[in-house]
């Protein structure tokens, strides 16, 4: 007994290995759970890293696809409209008009997909319990589910902005405002992705939500065409689309001019983001359809 105690004392005093007995094992001391405090920074950082790595494991899907599609859109719009002298939309050429719309549409689409595919993959592969059983509070999970789409969407948006900058010299007038609108839109759409994954039991159910809800909302929000071109009853209806306000706010930040009042658009975007965030948090925290 005393010999064992001596061994423990010897270990705890950090004596050189040659002096401690090789038979003294760490099982003599029970491991203590990690002290995490108010915020589990280790777990949150780990979840964030996993989300990012999961996204960038397939570069052709995550970055290549949106960038190529955007460049194709830009070329096609330029060639289809090209040379037409009276085709100036709000005083700029076709490509310069749609450039902010291209950045917004690609960023929002990626932001939605990052979360929706990640949570859906967890559910289908059976790794959802790894997420739910980890010592992560729902608020911490939600924080990661905002940070990782912002990162991925931000990177994709930056790539596309750079490509558009090469062709159209699009330099932001109010850069901070533009970024705030884009971030607000990405957060709203990212949490919508969480809600969509919670309500989907199969892959085609999830992709159906994306194709039939998100894509029409993005395409019909004035990203590629000016809202002035739309005939009256539809025009008012389309202005209820929160993504319309994201795009117009982003255009205001990029060009200094927009169809809507930036303050009103800001409130709409912030309200949508808050609504989505709160709904997603409540559903996730209760484990609705996740913990059966």
């Amino acid at each position: 007994m005393a010999h064992g105690q001596e061994r423990l004392q010897a270990e705890s005093l950090s004596t050189p290995p040659s002096e401690t007995s090789p038979a003294a094992t760490p099982r003599d001391r029970a491991p203590a759970p990690a002290r995490l405090g108010i915020f589990n920074h280790i777990g949150t950082a780990a979840l964030y890293k996993r989300e990012i790595k999961r996204e960038f494991a397939l570069l052709a899907f995550s970055i290549g696809g949106p960038v190529v599609q955007t460049i194709l859109f830009a070329i096609v719009f330029h060639l289809a409209a090209g040379g037409s002298p009276d085709l100036l939309i709000r005083g700029v050429s076709m490509v310069a008009f749609i450039a902010p719309g291209l950045v917004v549409s690609a960023s929002l689409q990626r932001a939605y997909e990052v979360n929706a595919f990640s949570l859906m993959e967890d559910r289908m592969e059976g790794t959802l319990q790894d997420l739910l059983m980890a010592p992560l509070r729902p608020i911490e999970c939600m924080a990661v589910y905002a940070a990782s789409p912002l990162t991925v969407g931000g990177i994709v948006g930056a790539f596309i902005w750079f490509v558009m900058f090469v062709f159209t010299d699009m330099v932001p007038v109010h850069a901070v405002i533009a970024l705030l609108f884009l971030a607000g839109g990405m957060i709203a759409v990212a949490y919508a992705g969480i809600i969509a994954a919670i309500f989907s039991w199969r892959w085609d159910s999830l992709s159906g939500k994306e194709i039939f809800i998100l894509t029409p909302l993005i395409f019909l929000s004035g990203t590629f065409f000016p809202m002035e071109a739309v005939a009256e009853p539809f025009r008012t209806i389309l202005q209820f689309n929160p993504i319309f306000h994201v795009v117009e706010g982003f255009r205001y930040g990029m060009t200094g001019a927009s169809l809507t009042d930036p303050l009103l658009s800001g409130c709409v975007v912030a309200g949508s983001a808050a609504f989505m965030a709160i709904t997603a948090y409540l559903l996730f925290a209760r484990g609705y359809r996740l913990k059966n």
Binding site: L58, A81, I89, M94, P226, A229
Partner: protein, 269 residues
Amino acid sequence: MEDRNAAPPRPKRYGAINWVGTWYLYVKEVRRFLNVYTQTIAAPVVTTLLFLAIFTLALGHAVEVVHGVPFPTFLAPGLITMAMAQNAFANTSSSLVISKIQGNIVDVLMPPISSGEFVFAYTMGGISRGVLVGFVTAVGMSVFVSFPISHPFFIVFHAIMASMMLSLLGIIGGLWSEKFDHIAAVTNFVIMPFSFLSGTFYSISRLPEPFYHIAFFNPFFYMIDGFRYGFIGNSDSIPIVGVAVMTGVNSFLWFIAWRMVKSGYRLKA
């Protein structure tokens, strides 16, 4: 009582062409995409209609008339061809890649189906999906856009040829790919650019000099232009040349696909 002296069961005899086997491989392919028709048929239709809406709203007031017809009427056949092409490619390529990755490629390699029958069944499956998507899209668009019909032969011919070409490309791409990333790269960096930039949205007479001539070497251009010719009666190329090019390209691709399957390239290690 069993007759113990009866001869053991003989393997089924089939002649030069295994009709039953080919038919059921084709049926498997068709049921595969009909099973998830919201993703395989409805989704492309919705996306194509959205494209029509965007382009008409964005360009309609400035680009009034192209090749003698209103812009939406010029655009619609191009969009239908693009939808047919992308979906025919996706059908065969995804079927092969998923089978290879999940391991059930064995189920189509073990039965007595020859390489030619293999390629034939997969191609017909892709053509079925392509033509179905094209037809439903056209019906959906006809609510909004007027479709004059000038030369029905070209419509049918190019619909089938376009779907066939992309199905064959999908087979070749699917055989070559070993991971989803490969086939995604082919779809994003080859198929999408070709289907967008081959005169779908604009007449190639708008292209600056080197690109204008390069377009005449692009089979995608001929199929889009020919299909559109069947509707509006006007084209950037000579229609008979388009027929010849599509026939030639498809024959070449059949041969390549058949050789790849026969040699077991990346199928039978």
